[in-house]
Amino acid sequence: MKLFLVLLLGALATQAAMLDGFAWLWESAYGEPRALDEALELPLTWVGLALGGPLALALGAAAIYTALRRARALAQRAALVLLVTPSLLAATLTTHVLLALAGIW
Protein backbone atom coordinates (compact mmCIF):
# COMPACT_ATOMS: atom_id res chain seq x y z
CA MET A 1 0.00 0.00 0.00
CA LYS A 2 3.02 2.25 0.33
CA LEU A 3 3.29 2.47 -3.45
CA PHE A 4 -0.41 3.34 -3.71
CA LEU A 5 0.03 6.21 -1.27
CA VAL A 6 3.12 7.49 -3.06
CA LEU A 7 1.28 7.50 -6.39
CA LEU A 8 -1.85 9.14 -4.99
CA LEU A 9 0.16 11.80 -3.17
CA GLY A 10 2.17 12.31 -6.35
CA ALA A 11 -1.02 12.94 -8.33
CA LEU A 12 -2.32 15.36 -5.70
CA ALA A 13 1.03 17.13 -5.45
CA THR A 14 1.25 17.75 -9.22
CA GLN A 15 -2.25 19.20 -9.17
CA ALA A 16 -1.49 21.39 -6.18
CA ALA A 17 1.70 22.53 -7.94
CA MET A 18 -0.33 23.40 -11.04
CA LEU A 19 -2.87 25.45 -9.11
CA ASP A 20 -0.25 27.19 -7.00
CA GLY A 21 1.89 27.81 -10.07
CA PHE A 22 -1.05 29.28 -11.99
CA ALA A 23 -1.93 31.62 -9.12
CA TRP A 24 1.68 32.85 -9.07
CA LEU A 25 1.68 33.08 -12.86
CA TRP A 26 -1.38 35.30 -13.23
CA GLU A 27 -0.33 37.56 -10.37
CA SER A 28 3.18 37.91 -11.80
CA ALA A 29 2.00 38.44 -15.35
CA TYR A 30 -0.96 40.73 -14.73
CA GLY A 31 -0.19 42.39 -11.43
CA GLU A 32 1.09 45.96 -11.63
CA PRO A 33 3.85 46.15 -12.69
CA ARG A 34 4.34 42.95 -14.73
CA ALA A 35 6.96 40.79 -13.00
CA LEU A 36 7.15 37.99 -15.56
CA ASP A 37 8.51 38.12 -19.10
CA GLU A 38 5.56 37.88 -21.51
CA ALA A 39 7.43 35.24 -23.53
CA LEU A 40 7.43 32.89 -20.53
CA GLU A 41 3.72 33.14 -19.78
CA LEU A 42 2.40 30.58 -22.23
CA PRO A 43 5.22 28.03 -21.93
CA LEU A 44 4.75 28.02 -18.15
CA THR A 45 1.01 27.59 -18.65
CA TRP A 46 1.65 24.54 -20.84
CA VAL A 47 4.02 23.10 -18.23
CA GLY A 48 1.37 23.58 -15.53
CA LEU A 49 -1.32 21.92 -17.62
CA ALA A 50 0.99 19.00 -18.44
CA LEU A 51 1.72 18.56 -14.71
CA GLY A 52 -1.88 18.72 -13.53
CA GLY A 53 -3.26 16.93 -16.59
CA PRO A 54 -1.50 13.97 -18.21
CA LEU A 55 1.10 13.50 -15.45
CA ALA A 56 -1.48 13.54 -12.66
CA LEU A 57 -3.70 11.30 -14.79
CA ALA A 58 -0.89 8.78 -15.21
CA LEU A 59 -0.10 8.83 -11.50
CA GLY A 60 -3.78 8.47 -10.58
CA ALA A 61 -4.27 5.60 -13.01
CA ALA A 62 -1.15 3.90 -11.65
CA ALA A 63 -2.53 4.34 -8.12
CA ILE A 64 -5.78 2.65 -9.13
CA TYR A 65 -3.93 -0.17 -10.82
CA THR A 66 -1.81 -0.66 -7.71
CA ALA A 67 -4.87 -0.66 -5.44
CA LEU A 68 -6.60 -3.25 -7.59
CA ARG A 69 -3.53 -5.45 -7.63
CA ARG A 70 -2.49 -5.18 -3.99
CA ALA A 71 -5.67 -4.85 -1.94
CA ARG A 72 -7.06 -8.20 -0.88
CA ALA A 73 -10.73 -7.47 -0.15
CA LEU A 74 -13.19 -6.09 -2.73
CA ALA A 75 -14.42 -3.41 -0.32
CA GLN A 76 -10.84 -2.30 0.30
CA ARG A 77 -10.20 -2.03 -3.44
CA ALA A 78 -13.40 -0.05 -3.98
CA ALA A 79 -12.54 2.35 -1.15
CA LEU A 80 -9.05 2.98 -2.51
CA VAL A 81 -10.36 3.57 -6.04
CA LEU A 82 -12.90 6.01 -4.62
CA LEU A 83 -10.07 7.84 -2.88
CA VAL A 84 -8.33 8.44 -6.21
CA THR A 85 -11.51 9.42 -8.08
CA PRO A 86 -11.55 13.21 -7.38
CA SER A 87 -7.93 13.59 -8.39
CA LEU A 88 -8.44 11.47 -11.50
CA LEU A 89 -11.50 13.47 -12.54
CA ALA A 90 -9.63 16.76 -12.08
CA ALA A 91 -6.71 15.38 -14.09
CA THR A 92 -9.07 14.32 -16.88
CA LEU A 93 -10.61 17.81 -17.00
CA THR A 94 -7.15 19.40 -17.11
CA THR A 95 -6.07 17.03 -19.88
CA HIS A 96 -9.21 18.03 -21.77
CA VAL A 97 -8.18 21.69 -21.48
CA LEU A 98 -4.66 20.86 -22.65
CA LEU A 99 -5.98 18.96 -25.67
CA ALA A 100 -8.39 21.79 -26.50
CA LEU A 101 -5.56 24.34 -26.45
CA ALA A 102 -3.49 22.05 -28.64
CA GLY A 103 -6.32 22.03 -31.20
CA ILE A 104 -6.94 18.32 -30.70
CA TRP A 105 -10.23 18.44 -28.73
Binding site: Y30, Y65, A100
Partner: protein, 239 residues
Amino acid sequence: MSAQDAAPGCSRRTALGVTALLVMSFFALVAALSDAPRLSRPITAERAQRAAFAIRDRVYPFQQWGSRAFSLPLLESAYGRVEYLTLRADGSDGAARYRAQLGALLESGVQVDLFLLAHSNPFVAWTRELDAAQRERIRLVYNTGCFDLRQRDEWLALGADAYVGHVGNSASSLFYVFFLRAWIRGDPLAEILEDSNALTARFLHRLCAVLGARAEPLVEATRAELGGAERLAITGVPR
Protein backbone atom coordinates in the same frame (compact mmCIF):
# COMPACT_ATOMS: atom_id res chain seq x y z
CA MET B 1 1.54 -17.78 -13.30
CA SER B 2 4.48 -15.36 -13.17
CA ALA B 3 5.88 -13.99 -9.93
CA GLN B 4 4.28 -10.61 -10.66
CA ASP B 5 0.86 -12.21 -10.94
CA ALA B 6 1.12 -13.49 -7.38
CA ALA B 7 -0.26 -10.21 -5.93
CA PRO B 8 -3.18 -10.67 -3.51
CA GLY B 9 -5.67 -8.55 -5.50
CA CYS B 10 -6.99 -8.74 -9.07
CA SER B 11 -5.01 -10.30 -11.88
CA ARG B 12 -2.83 -7.98 -13.90
CA ARG B 13 -5.21 -8.16 -16.86
CA THR B 14 -8.30 -7.34 -14.76
CA ALA B 15 -6.52 -4.49 -12.99
CA LEU B 16 -5.37 -3.02 -16.31
CA GLY B 17 -8.83 -3.41 -17.83
CA VAL B 18 -10.64 -1.80 -14.90
CA THR B 19 -8.13 1.06 -14.76
CA ALA B 20 -8.45 1.71 -18.50
CA LEU B 21 -12.23 1.54 -18.27
CA LEU B 22 -12.28 4.05 -15.42
CA VAL B 23 -10.04 6.50 -17.26
CA MET B 24 -12.12 6.16 -20.45
CA SER B 25 -15.37 6.65 -18.53
CA PHE B 26 -13.95 9.84 -17.02
CA PHE B 27 -13.11 11.15 -20.48
CA ALA B 28 -16.61 10.21 -21.61
CA LEU B 29 -18.03 12.15 -18.65
CA VAL B 30 -15.93 15.21 -19.52
CA ALA B 31 -17.09 14.96 -23.15
CA ALA B 32 -20.70 14.73 -22.01
CA LEU B 33 -20.28 17.76 -19.75
CA SER B 34 -18.47 19.92 -22.32
CA ASP B 35 -18.31 18.82 -25.93
CA ALA B 36 -17.19 15.83 -27.95
CA PRO B 37 -13.64 15.67 -29.32
CA ARG B 38 -13.37 17.29 -32.75
CA LEU B 39 -12.09 15.19 -35.58
CA SER B 40 -10.82 18.10 -37.67
CA ARG B 41 -7.73 20.18 -36.87
CA PRO B 42 -7.33 23.96 -37.13
CA ILE B 43 -7.15 25.19 -40.75
CA THR B 44 -3.62 26.12 -41.76
CA ALA B 45 -4.11 26.53 -45.53
CA GLU B 46 -3.41 30.08 -46.75
CA ARG B 47 -3.05 31.32 -43.22
CA ALA B 48 -0.51 33.93 -44.34
CA GLN B 49 -3.50 35.71 -45.94
CA ARG B 50 -5.24 36.32 -42.65
CA ALA B 51 -4.47 37.90 -39.31
CA ALA B 52 -6.20 38.07 -35.97
CA PHE B 53 -6.31 40.78 -33.37
CA ALA B 54 -7.59 39.99 -29.88
CA ILE B 55 -8.01 42.49 -27.10
CA ARG B 56 -8.76 41.88 -23.44
CA ASP B 57 -10.05 44.64 -21.19
CA ARG B 58 -8.98 45.41 -17.65
CA VAL B 59 -10.33 42.59 -15.50
CA TYR B 60 -8.92 40.38 -12.73
CA PRO B 61 -5.41 38.97 -13.42
CA PHE B 62 -6.90 35.47 -13.49
CA GLN B 63 -9.26 36.42 -16.31
CA GLN B 64 -6.56 38.26 -18.24
CA TRP B 65 -4.21 35.29 -18.01
CA GLY B 66 -6.96 32.80 -18.88
CA SER B 67 -8.10 34.76 -21.92
CA ARG B 68 -4.59 34.96 -23.34
CA ALA B 69 -3.73 31.35 -22.48
CA PHE B 70 -6.84 30.15 -24.29
CA SER B 71 -6.94 32.51 -27.25
CA LEU B 72 -3.33 32.88 -28.32
CA PRO B 73 -2.43 29.22 -29.03
CA LEU B 74 -5.68 28.65 -30.93
CA LEU B 75 -5.39 31.84 -32.96
CA GLU B 76 -1.74 31.14 -33.76
CA SER B 77 -2.68 27.68 -35.01
CA ALA B 78 -4.89 29.12 -37.77
CA TYR B 79 -3.67 32.67 -38.50
CA GLY B 80 -0.46 33.84 -40.15
CA ARG B 81 -0.17 36.78 -37.82
CA VAL B 82 -1.71 37.37 -34.40
CA GLU B 83 -1.66 40.47 -32.23
CA TYR B 84 -2.91 40.31 -28.66
CA LEU B 85 -3.44 43.31 -26.43
CA THR B 86 -4.26 43.29 -22.72
CA LEU B 87 -5.34 46.65 -21.37
CA ARG B 88 -3.49 47.58 -18.20
CA ALA B 89 -4.67 49.30 -15.05
CA ASP B 90 -3.67 52.66 -16.41
CA GLY B 91 -5.89 52.60 -19.47
CA SER B 92 -4.84 56.01 -20.72
CA ASP B 93 -2.88 54.66 -23.69
CA GLY B 94 -5.35 51.86 -24.50
CA ALA B 95 -6.90 53.55 -27.51
CA ALA B 96 -3.51 54.51 -28.95
CA ARG B 97 -2.12 50.99 -28.53
CA TYR B 98 -5.30 49.50 -29.99
CA ARG B 99 -5.12 51.70 -33.07
CA ALA B 100 -1.37 51.11 -33.48
CA GLN B 101 -1.61 47.31 -33.32
CA LEU B 102 -4.77 46.99 -35.40
CA GLY B 103 -3.57 49.65 -37.85
CA ALA B 104 -0.30 47.79 -38.41
CA LEU B 105 -2.16 44.56 -39.17
CA LEU B 106 -4.56 46.26 -41.57
CA GLU B 107 -1.71 48.09 -43.28
CA SER B 108 -0.01 44.77 -44.04
CA GLY B 109 -2.81 44.12 -46.56
CA VAL B 110 -4.25 40.93 -45.09
CA GLN B 111 -7.81 40.30 -43.93
CA VAL B 112 -8.11 40.86 -40.19
CA ASP B 113 -10.51 39.17 -37.76
CA LEU B 114 -11.18 40.92 -34.45
CA PHE B 115 -11.86 39.19 -31.16
CA LEU B 116 -13.05 41.73 -28.61
CA LEU B 117 -12.79 39.99 -25.26
CA ALA B 118 -14.15 42.77 -23.16
CA HIS B 119 -17.22 43.87 -21.28
CA SER B 120 -19.46 46.36 -23.06
CA ASN B 121 -16.69 48.18 -24.87
CA PRO B 122 -15.76 51.29 -26.87
CA PHE B 123 -13.65 49.59 -29.55
CA VAL B 124 -16.07 50.48 -32.32
CA ALA B 125 -15.40 54.15 -31.61
CA TRP B 126 -11.65 53.57 -31.51
CA THR B 127 -11.81 51.75 -34.85
CA ARG B 128 -13.79 54.57 -36.49
CA GLU B 129 -10.68 56.71 -36.29
CA LEU B 130 -8.73 54.36 -38.55
CA ASP B 131 -8.49 54.98 -42.28
CA ALA B 132 -11.65 53.86 -44.17
CA ALA B 133 -9.66 51.94 -46.80
CA GLN B 134 -7.89 50.03 -44.04
CA ARG B 135 -11.14 49.27 -42.25
CA GLU B 136 -12.41 47.49 -45.35
CA ARG B 137 -9.96 44.71 -44.54
CA ILE B 138 -11.72 43.97 -41.25
CA ARG B 139 -13.52 40.71 -41.87
CA LEU B 140 -15.05 39.12 -38.75
CA VAL B 141 -15.71 41.00 -35.54
CA TYR B 142 -16.58 38.80 -32.56
CA ASN B 143 -17.53 40.77 -29.47
CA THR B 144 -18.02 39.19 -26.03
CA GLY B 145 -19.38 42.42 -24.56
CA CYS B 146 -22.75 42.25 -22.82
CA PHE B 147 -25.49 43.89 -24.90
CA ASP B 148 -22.94 44.61 -27.63
CA LEU B 149 -25.13 43.09 -30.30
CA ARG B 150 -26.35 46.68 -30.52
CA GLN B 151 -23.00 47.56 -32.17
CA ARG B 152 -23.76 45.27 -35.12
CA ASP B 153 -24.84 47.94 -37.59
CA GLU B 154 -22.00 50.25 -36.62
CA TRP B 155 -19.36 47.58 -37.20
CA LEU B 156 -20.87 46.53 -40.52
CA ALA B 157 -21.01 50.18 -41.58
CA LEU B 158 -17.35 50.56 -40.65
CA GLY B 159 -16.44 47.83 -43.12
CA ALA B 160 -16.63 44.53 -41.23
CA ASP B 161 -17.96 41.63 -43.33
CA ALA B 162 -19.60 39.89 -40.40
CA TYR B 163 -20.37 40.69 -36.78
CA VAL B 164 -21.18 38.36 -33.91
CA GLY B 165 -22.41 39.79 -30.62
CA HIS B 166 -24.45 38.83 -27.58
CA VAL B 167 -27.99 39.83 -26.83
CA GLY B 168 -27.87 40.75 -23.15
CA ASN B 169 -26.05 40.38 -19.84
CA SER B 170 -24.37 37.22 -20.99
CA ALA B 171 -22.07 34.34 -20.07
CA SER B 172 -20.26 35.01 -23.33
CA SER B 173 -16.93 33.59 -22.17
CA LEU B 174 -18.54 30.15 -22.22
CA PHE B 175 -19.87 30.69 -25.74
CA TYR B 176 -16.42 31.91 -26.85
CA VAL B 177 -14.82 28.60 -25.79
CA PHE B 178 -17.05 26.73 -28.24
CA PHE B 179 -17.08 29.44 -30.90
CA LEU B 180 -13.33 29.96 -31.33
CA ARG B 181 -12.55 26.24 -31.47
CA ALA B 182 -15.11 25.77 -34.24
CA TRP B 183 -14.12 28.93 -36.13
CA ILE B 184 -10.46 27.96 -36.50
CA ARG B 185 -11.58 24.63 -37.96
CA GLY B 186 -13.21 26.32 -40.93
CA ASP B 187 -16.93 25.86 -40.34
CA PRO B 188 -19.22 28.58 -41.77
CA LEU B 189 -20.28 31.26 -39.33
CA ALA B 190 -24.02 30.55 -39.32
CA GLU B 191 -23.41 26.89 -38.56
CA ILE B 192 -20.91 27.72 -35.80
CA LEU B 193 -23.38 30.07 -34.18
CA GLU B 194 -26.11 27.48 -34.14
CA ASP B 195 -23.83 24.81 -32.65
CA SER B 196 -22.14 27.11 -30.15
CA ASN B 197 -25.44 28.59 -28.97
CA ALA B 198 -26.79 25.05 -28.50
CA LEU B 199 -23.71 23.84 -26.59
CA THR B 200 -23.71 26.95 -24.41
CA ALA B 201 -27.43 26.54 -23.66
CA ARG B 202 -26.95 22.88 -22.77
CA PHE B 203 -24.08 23.70 -20.41
CA LEU B 204 -25.97 26.57 -18.76
CA HIS B 205 -29.09 24.42 -18.29
CA ARG B 206 -27.00 21.77 -16.50
CA LEU B 207 -25.15 24.32 -14.41
CA CYS B 208 -28.36 26.09 -13.37
CA ALA B 209 -29.97 22.73 -12.55
CA VAL B 210 -27.11 22.04 -10.13
CA LEU B 211 -27.29 25.54 -8.65
CA GLY B 212 -31.10 25.52 -8.48
CA ALA B 213 -31.31 28.65 -10.64
CA ARG B 214 -33.44 29.45 -13.68
CA ALA B 215 -31.46 28.89 -16.85
CA GLU B 216 -33.73 30.45 -19.47
CA PRO B 217 -33.04 34.16 -18.79
CA LEU B 218 -29.28 33.55 -18.86
CA VAL B 219 -29.48 31.37 -21.96
CA GLU B 220 -31.51 34.02 -23.77
CA ALA B 221 -29.15 36.83 -22.71
CA THR B 222 -26.09 34.82 -23.73
CA ARG B 223 -27.44 33.94 -27.19
CA ALA B 224 -25.16 35.21 -29.93
CA GLU B 225 -26.51 36.68 -33.13
CA LEU B 226 -24.90 37.30 -36.44
CA GLY B 227 -24.93 40.18 -38.87
CA GLY B 228 -23.39 40.28 -42.34
CA ALA B 229 -21.90 37.36 -44.25
CA GLU B 230 -23.50 34.23 -42.83
CA ARG B 231 -21.42 31.90 -44.98
CA LEU B 232 -18.12 33.45 -43.96
CA ALA B 233 -15.55 30.93 -42.75
CA ILE B 234 -11.97 31.42 -41.65
CA THR B 235 -10.89 30.61 -45.19
CA GLY B 236 -13.24 33.24 -46.64
CA VAL B 237 -16.68 33.11 -48.23
CA PRO B 238 -17.13 29.99 -50.39
CA ARG B 239 -18.07 30.74 -54.00
